[in-house]
């Protein structure tokens, strides 16, 4: 016999929070692997995504479908389950982007291990701000989900513009550096991809928060409809 829907929902919420924690830790490790030039850590990030994140995502989706079939939820329960399905998918996509960042670290190492580990290649300072803002958005998005905090969700949606702006700045500056030091173009091109992945992570945090607003208020705020 299936447990009652409230128990199911509490359990599911726990699974999403756990998935969020795994993805957040993996994101931190990916950034650390890039800044500290640690290929072992980058490899570990990719393994965690493949083994843990993907598997939790499937478990959460199956649980949602089972609850929907057995309990036929309505109102806040329905909105919660629809939100979980979408948040689950966003977290898995964030996981993939984190793995993509780690993959860039490994690629750079494999291209020229000595050069990569030398002091000549450093992640420019301007990345720090973008990483910090994206990590902050991620943490706040999960906090908004756990505490059903619509105000915080709105705040996160608005912060996305800052990450977009940071990415544009990084693009412009990296293009200039590539022109002035063409020898490092392979390394710098990979950093462009890291900036792009980080910006996409922030976009998924925004999606999560838009879904939290739907879960709480029942109104769809995607595509800047209400924001």
């Amino acid at each position: 016999m299936a447990p009652n829907i409230q128990t199911e929902i509490e359990t599911l919420k726990g699974h999403i929070v756990y998935l969020g924690t795994v993805v957040e830790e993996n994101l931190q490790c990916a950034i650390k692997a890039l800044i500290e030039k640690n290929p072992d850590l980058a490899y570990q990030v990719m393994q965690t995504d493949r083994v843990e994140v993907d598997s939790i995502e499937i478990d959460v989706e199956e649980a949602c479908l089972r609850i929907m079939a057995l309990h036929q939820p309505v109102a806040s329960d329905l909105r919660f389950l629809v939100t979980v399905l979408k948040v689950n998918s966003d977290l898995e996509r964030i996981g993939d982007l984190v793995a993509k960042i780690a993959d860039k670290v490994l690629l750079l190492y494999k291209l020229d291990p000595v050069k990569f580990l030398s002091d000549s290649m450093q992640v420019p300072e301007m990345f720090n701000e973008m990483f910090d803002k994206t990590l902050c958005m991620f943490r706040q998005a999960m906090e908004a989900f756990i505490n059903e905090d619509t105000d915080l969700a709105y705040k996160v949606c608005l912060a996305d513009d800052e990450v977009d702006k940071a990415k544009r700045t990084i693009y412009n500056e990296l293009e200039e550096i590539i022109m002035s030091t063409p020898a490092q173009h392979v390394y710098l091109a990979k950093l462009l991809s890291v900036a792009r992945s980080t910006e996409r992570i922030a976009d998924h945090c925004t999606n999560i928060c838009e879904d939290i607003i739907y879960m709480q208020q029942g109104k769809i705020v995607r595509h800047n409809m209400v924001l």
């Binding site: 109102a75 329905l78 208020q217 109104k219």
Partner: protein, 262 residues
Amino acid sequence: MSHSATAIMSIEKPQVEVEHLNLFYGNSQALTDMSFGIPASQVTALIGPSGCGKSTFLRCINRMNDLVEGLRIEGSITIDGENINDPSLDVIELRRKVGMVFQKWNPFPKSIYENVIYGLRIAGIKERGVLDQAVEQSLKRAALWDEVKDRLQQSAMGLSGGQMQRLCIARAVAVNPEIILMDEPCSALDPRSTSRIEELIRELRGEYTIIIVTHNMQQAARISDYTAYMYLGELIEYGPTQKLFTVPERKETEDYITGRFG
């Protein structure tokens, strides 16, 4: 309990208009200050826990409560602008206009044919051609014609539960009502028969105003255009079904439809 005005939607040009309806059984109040409008040619579902007054309210609409001892009604119910509690109103005509289908099918121990034309016979119609046509038309509307057309003179008591319920719907439809009241019409039916009745309700919608009491919330969500949630004789929330089942305005409604009630 005071309710926000927005939780009870107002309908433009309602066919049935309920205003400050109060109903008492002796000293006990069963319905309290209900005010809302029911639109024509749509399906309106009444939901709420047992004893909340859904059936009592439904029976007010065709004055089935008239013979209940000690019953007193205040406020008004109008259908197409006419007050149905007006003493000068012809109750027989009201019940022709407002048909009813009950929880437990109740065909008469007569032939299928005689069951369908029962109301027409009472109205004095005797022409065979008219009656034959009414039988065919009503049974077709009730999606029963194909199953019984070759045995119209056989007893209705030989039909299955689902068929008997559809026969009762055909009997209600035969007198050409404008409104059909349904009091838990599927509660004693198996899923397949329930699905046929629900399909029938979808087909009848547009031609008739249907007001249905149901304990099955999924059924209310599936078949109705508007839903009213009642609790302890009060109308708590009333609005489009899609909205009520996704984003209800009142916490009481939310608690009931999500099963957190009580």
